[in-house]
């Protein structure tokens, strides 16, 4: 029986079809499902050959402009790539490390960084020679971004940073191959009426003096990429390593979250598609009481419901990618024709929050269903489902923003700011 294929290429451009084909061909040689299972069992750091392979393929930070080492891809292309990355590695280790973090945040770092950071960190990360990411969560909290404790004080031409960041993806990888992080610190007094003000973003190299990585966490899933943290004790960062303008870090950070979350949405569609395909192969073959499992409504109807939700999610991600393309087409025809003003950043954030909430939960629930359909086989690591289920839970509980935070953003934009449950 031919393997189940749930991809529908008819809406894809010629280039997108080839992007997909190349990534799938590469994965067949380098990252088949049994290797995904094995590398998650063995744990971090993420295999160097896969980092280099992804970079050689050109999937990391494709949206960075060509003149700065990227490919100048639009967001529809990059979200399609993120979907294929989720498809080839449903544990989400690859997507979490190299789409959401390196690509979403790398693109944002590139936008606000100076030429030195671009050349020393961003472009090497595109080539797979360094790892760059985001460090925003602190031991005191993550969702309440404006209430962080890390500080930055100006001394001469330098900023002195202090505090601790935690639950950061890729610290061990950055330690191993070099790189650095987008770090938010408070650079002015906390204003009770506007706590999000006076936050400033810096690029902090992982090998900065005074920066000490903490022990990595033993996570439930996506174990091939590390989660950890670091303590900053009088870390001295040059003024030029400030990202964007002083005091605007909160706004840039929200933009970075948008860029990471949309790629999470794409990759979660890919995870769901792969789970459904792998499950379909099993339930069409496996017989019980004289019939294949797929013939029983209890299983078939659940499968169909997940399939519908997946395709609906795919359309939604595609819509949001179009909104992103309008947002970043600052110099292009969209801007010239006035269409670039179509969506406000808050409106885009609402849509991105919707996919960030919806699609990872769909992927997790689909993995959960598949484990029920397969029974003991689904629960074992012989199949991908339990690895996917543990991995994608990371997207649900908090990576790049917890589920309830997404709901607050969506509620604020649909019911109005008067109904925001916090100030």
């Amino acid at each position: 029986m031919a393997k189940t294929n749930l991809w529908d290429e008819r809406g894809l451009t010629e280039e997108q079809k080839l992007f997909k084909e190349s990534i799938l061909d590469w994965a067949e040689r380098n990252l088949p499902l049994d290797r995904v299972i094995k590398m998650n069992r063995e744990g971090h750091p993420f295999p160097k050959d896969i980092i280099k392979g992804l970079a050689d393929l050109g999937v990391i930070m494709g949206t960075v402009p060509e003149e700065r080492g990227g490919l100048g891809l639009n967001w529809k292309d990059q979200t399609l790539i993120s979907e294929v990355i989720g498809y080839i590695d449903p544990s989400i280790a690859t997507a979490a490390g190299f789409m959401a973090v390196s690509t979403g945040w790398g693109f944002t770092i590139d936008r606000y960084a100076n030429e030195e950071i671009r050349q020393k960190y961003v472009q090497p990360a595109i080539r797979g020679d360094k790892f760059i990411g985001i460090a925003t969560t602190e031991p005191g909290g993550g969702s309440d971004v404006s209430n962080f404790k890390c500080t930055g004080e100006k001394e001469g031409d330098e900023w002195v940073l202090n505090g601790e960041k935690t639950f950061i993806s890729g610290v061990q990888e950055a330690k191993q191959i070099g790189g650095g992080y987008w770090v938010n610190v408070r650079t002015g007094p906390k204003l009770p009426e506007a706590p999000h003000k006076n936050m400033t973003a810096f690029f902090v190299p992982i090998d900065s003096e005074g920066l000490t990585p903490t022990e990595p966490y033993d996570d439930a899933g996506r174990n091939a990429i590390s989660t950890g943290g670091f303590i900053m004790e009088d870390v001295r960062i040059p003024e030029e390593y400030m990202l964007g303008e002083k005091g605007k870090g909160f706004y840039y950070t929200m933009e970075g979250f948008d860029n990471a979350r949309i790629l999470i949405g794409g990759s979660a569609v890919g995870v769901t598609r792969r789970i459904l395909e792998e499950a379909a192969d099993y339930i069409k073959e496996r017989e019980t009481f004289g019939n294949p499992l797929a013939k029983y409504e209890g299983i078939q109807f659940e499968f169909v419901e997940r399939y519908i939700e997946m395709e609906a999610s795919s359309l939604m991600v595609n819509k949001v990618a179009s909104m992103q393309d309008v947002r970043y087409d600052e110099e292009g025809w969209l801007a010239r024709t006035g269409k670039a003003k179509t969506y406000s950043p808050k409106e885009i954030a609402k849509w991105i929050s919707m996919i960030k909430y919806k699609v990872p939960h769909l992927a997790k629930d689909t993995a959960d269903d598949a484990m029920h359909w397969l029974g003991a086989a689904g629960y074992s690591s012989e199949y991908i489902f339990e690895t996917a289920w543990r991995g994608v839970m990371s997207y649900c509980v908090g990576a790049e923003g917890g589920a309830n935070i997404q709901k607050i953003v969506i509620g604020r934009e649909t019911l109005g700011p008067d109904y925001v449950p916090y100030k």
């Binding site: 294929n5 010629e14 080839l18 590469w26 040689r29 393929l57």
Partner: protein, 269 residues
């Protein structure tokens, strides 16, 4: 024939992905609905060989990927441009539809003539859907040039000659052949084609791509497509499955005795 630079033409075909093909048990025909199309693997090998040869030659070489097929065959040519072809040409017209290998070769050969000829015309040894292995040799016949089939490796081009390795039943033949020539390429075991990366794909999309129809090639309509075909497909069917084999897994002496016993019992000996 030779312009300012050496010219390679690589003939390619878009075929159904054979890993996903199923045969209708009643009609015996391939179920094409919903089956993705891919670049024929033999042709992909030929293109890889052509690109490697180009990279090994000091003088300028231009590679044209050439295909005949429906408009969606553009996808296969887009991939060729990503892998390393310099330009692509699709021969597409309703007049060309239904062509057998003869009419296909007529169409390809005329387009190659119109392109100004080529020093080396590469093609795959066969296509994975028809497996006739006829189109390459027929293109050579229509152009009146030499053909080399089952070529697994090209060593070099020197003094207007191509030196290559041709697989034979006994082993291989290292042969030298004057240009122009049609080379039908046979993938070597374990060959892995180049996977174009995202940058290759974007660059490929910016390369020249053209489509030609009947009006561009000229001649008579009956030269092409179904009308120009010399063969007729009467029926396609899957051969009946063979019965289950018997494996005798034993010590040699016992195994031979068991085998002899079986052959005698079946009346074979």
């Amino acid at each position: 024939m030779n312009g300012e630079c050496m010219k390679f033409v690589v003939c390619v075909k878009q075929v159904p992905d054979t890993t996903e093909v199923e045969v209708d048990p009643e009609t015996g025909t391939i179920i094409r609905e919903g089956v993705p199309s891919v670049l024929n693997a033999f042709d992909e090998f030929a293109l890889n060989v052509a690109v490697q040869l180009k990279e090994s030659i000091d003088e300028d070489v231009e590679i044209t990927a050439l295909s005949m097929g429906p408009p969606q065959a553009k996808d296969a040519l887009t991939k060729c441009l990503a892998i390393g072809a310099d330009k692509a040409l699709l021969l597409t017209d309703r007049v060309f539809a239904g062509a057998d290998t003869w009419a296909t070769a007529v169409t390809l050969a005329r387009s190659i003539k119109k392109l100004g000829g080529a020093d080396v015309i590469f093609c795959g040894q066969e296509a994975s859907d028809g497996n006739t292995a006829q189109v390459g040799p027929e293109v050579a016949a229509h152009l009146g040039i030499t053909q080399l089939t089952f070529v697994s490796e090209i060593e070099k081009i020197e003094d207007k000659n191509i030196i290559c390795k041709k697989e034979t039943d006994e082993g291989f033949l290292r042969t030298r052949c004057p240009l122009p020539v049609v080379i039908a390429c046979m993938p070597t075991p374990g060959f892995l084609p180049k996977i174009p990366n995202m940058r290759d794909i974007i660059k490929g999309k910016r390369k020249p791509y053209e489509e030609w129809g009947f009006d561009d090639l000229g001649g008579e309509e009956e030269d092409y497509g179904l009308e120009g075909s010399e063969s007729v497909v009467v029926r396609t069917y899957s051969p009946p499955p063979k019965g289950e084999g018997i494996i005798i897994d034993d010590e040699p002496e016992t195994a031979v005795n068991k085998l002899m016993e079986y052959l005698e019992k079946e009346g074979i000996l």
